[in-house]
Symmetry: C2
């Protein structure tokens, strides 16, 4: 069912989207400010995927770049709409709605900026079901909708249209090169598709899930309940039902560099109790990719690895990781459509150069979140 999102929803949505960003996806708090500024006291119509007409024309919009740069370089706010208009002109067709390509991080907000500016509705679905670092890592592409042609807009009004046919990796490669030369951040419109394509290829209701997650964490805090119980409870009725606490401890090492347009690195979390020398090591490329506890794999992409404040449950991004932080690390299952062989080929461990095989987070033996 369609519903209306207002500026009052944005802080909860930002919190939930940061959790689904699994450490990356860019900072939604900046995007939230941009949405609020343009939206004022109006509302944005959010369309349920089941309600879409088959021939509705949807143009997803997003930001691309390294999250470490996004913090330094706040967009003017007009670029995502310029990207969409550029793609419309190229295709000779006007969008009926926009949609996130990624429900984690700032890309939960970019389509809302476009909606606030243009009055278009936003489809409650995305193509990552979380955040991923590359434009080719989309369920859209896995299930047959290609990203190209892609339109890219820069902060000085530059536009670039890239057409690589069915080759989504080459599209990513060229768009990344342009983004780097635009200073590290670009805004894009890509994966134009029909309403029928959305139902076939998108992860449904991830925008409403992000909002529900963010709201449940806040309400749990206000009610002095465990935010981790609230997270598990909220997810239990979604396509992401399995939640595991992977580790709790103190961040004792962070290594991070921005290279080739990505933020890459690793973090170590060590046990709090004296005498307990167990650790969790997390490796990331924009997003958290793999979590290894005392040498044993406990969660791996595309399952979600989320670092949160040990008390408040507030999600912490890779660029927000600091020595000494007390954190709780959660593993969350991704929808089955993201775990098929085709999906794992696009955004499973090998797509990130990892040699480990995918193992569902729920097959481990760690305690269920909230039970700790």
């Amino acid at each position: 069912m369609s519903w209306t999102l207002t500026a009052a929803d944005l802080p909860d949505l930002a919190r939930g989207a940061t959790l689904l960003g699994t450490g990356g996806g860019g900072d939604p708090y900046i995007g939230q400010m941009l949405v609020a500024r343009v939206l004022g006291d109006r509302g944005i119509t959010i369309l349920d995927p089941d309600d879409l007409a088959d021939d509705l024309f949807v143009i997803p919009t997003a930001q691309m770049g390294a999250p470490t740069v996004m913090i330094e370089k706040i967009p003017a706010g007009t670029e995502p709409t310029l990207a969409m208009r550029t793609l419309e002109a190229h295709l000779g067709r006007t969008a009926d709605a926009t949609m996130p390509i990624e429900c984690g991080g700032i890309n939960s907000m970019i389509p809302l900026i476009v909606a606030a500016e243009t009055g278009l509705p936003v489809v409650d679905a995305d193509g990552m079901g979380r955040a991923f670092p590359e434009l080719s890592m989309e369920t859209f592409a896995v299930y047959g909708v290609h990203g190209s042609p892609l339109a890219l807009a820069g902060e000085r009004g530059e536009t670039v249209v890239i057409d690589t046919g069915d080759d989504d990796r080459q599209m990513e490669w060229l768009a990344r090169g342009v983004t780097i030369r635009l200073g590290g951040v670009g805004h894009i419109a890509e994966y134009a598709m029909s309403g029928a394509d959305v139902r076939r290829t998108a992860v449904p209701r991830t925008l409403s899930m992000a909002l529900a997650l963010g709201r449940s964490i806040r309400e749990a805090r206000e009610q002095h309940r465990s935010p981790f119980e609230a997270i598990a409870e909220t997810l239990s009725t979604t396509l992401y039902p399995e939640v595991r606490e992977l580790f709790s401890g103190k961040v004792t090492d962070v290594e991070r560099r921005t290279t080739e347009g990505f933020a890459k690195g690793r973090a170590t979390v060590s046990a709090l109790e004296a005498g307990d020398d167990s650790t969790l090591e997390i490796r990331f490329q924009n997003e958290n990719l793999i979590a290894v506890r005392d040498g044993q794999l406990v969660a791996i992409v595309p399952d979600l690895i989320c670092v949160t404040d040990i008390e408040s449950g507030e999600p912490i991004t890779t660029e927000g990781l600091r020595y000494g932080q007390r954190v709780r690390v959660l593993g969350i299952s991704t929808p089955e459509m993201m775990r098929t062989p085709e999906a794992l080929a696009a955004f499973g461990p090998r797509a990130f150069g990892l040699t480990e095989e995918f193992v569902p987070v729920e097959s481990g033996e760690l305690a269920r979140a909230g039970s700790a």
Copy 2:
């Protein structure tokens, strides 16, 4: 007056274009083979700029990339036409003719490939009057026609359309980034303009001049005359009347690296006579930029610095420079429209990071070519 170019003209045109390439511009011999293959025994109509209807629609075509890569990576031949078709689709207008953006090097040949494939005529003019390393270094831009939108095609059929408004340097920067990610070579269509624009902003008759230069060098050799006299004689009736012999000697040092999409480096030529320790040092970025004889500037960009075989007059590119070669280095004046303050701002010494001021090659005191 319009004329017809045939495959028999191509070797002379390639030779002349290599001379005008001033060390860079890419190897026209590869382009010549591609033109000959497509052209067969047909002819290409070459349009004199004075004959163009004011509203004729001209789309120039070219290759971009580092010459060192172009030698290794021979294009399929269909890319330049794909670039033109992509720009036509973007602009919603069909080209009446194509034109070189650069008369030196391989870019003398690329519009001929397009003409051979499509049957379009080629305008006898260009925007560099020689070769330059960057797309913004055009008399077109200096006199008010901007390069953007630019269409770029890759060897796997990728297309990219870049629109940077009036900012030709940003267009160059983004297109260069895409070209690097395409493996170092891309084919482009840009600086779309009217016949009236051509007359106002292009360097006229540089295609016929390149052909005449190449032919005169060959004929002088066949007639056992000095090719250098023939060069000076041919140029005397053009916009490039001043020719100076800057140095003759042996290449004793070459330093060359491909970096950021360019071939950069320097070469030293030493006197042949025992006891004469004078040298000429040439610095290049794709093209030869500056020639310094025994510490004294003798020629500088945008004037032409051409390295040729000491006997045959055959031009030698920067990537063809080898230790031990016997060479004659010529300095050639560029047309006055390339020496105005606006023109020097676009492609004078400062545009290449040189601190030296522009000094016309004919203001020096060296011997006139052919008199040595």
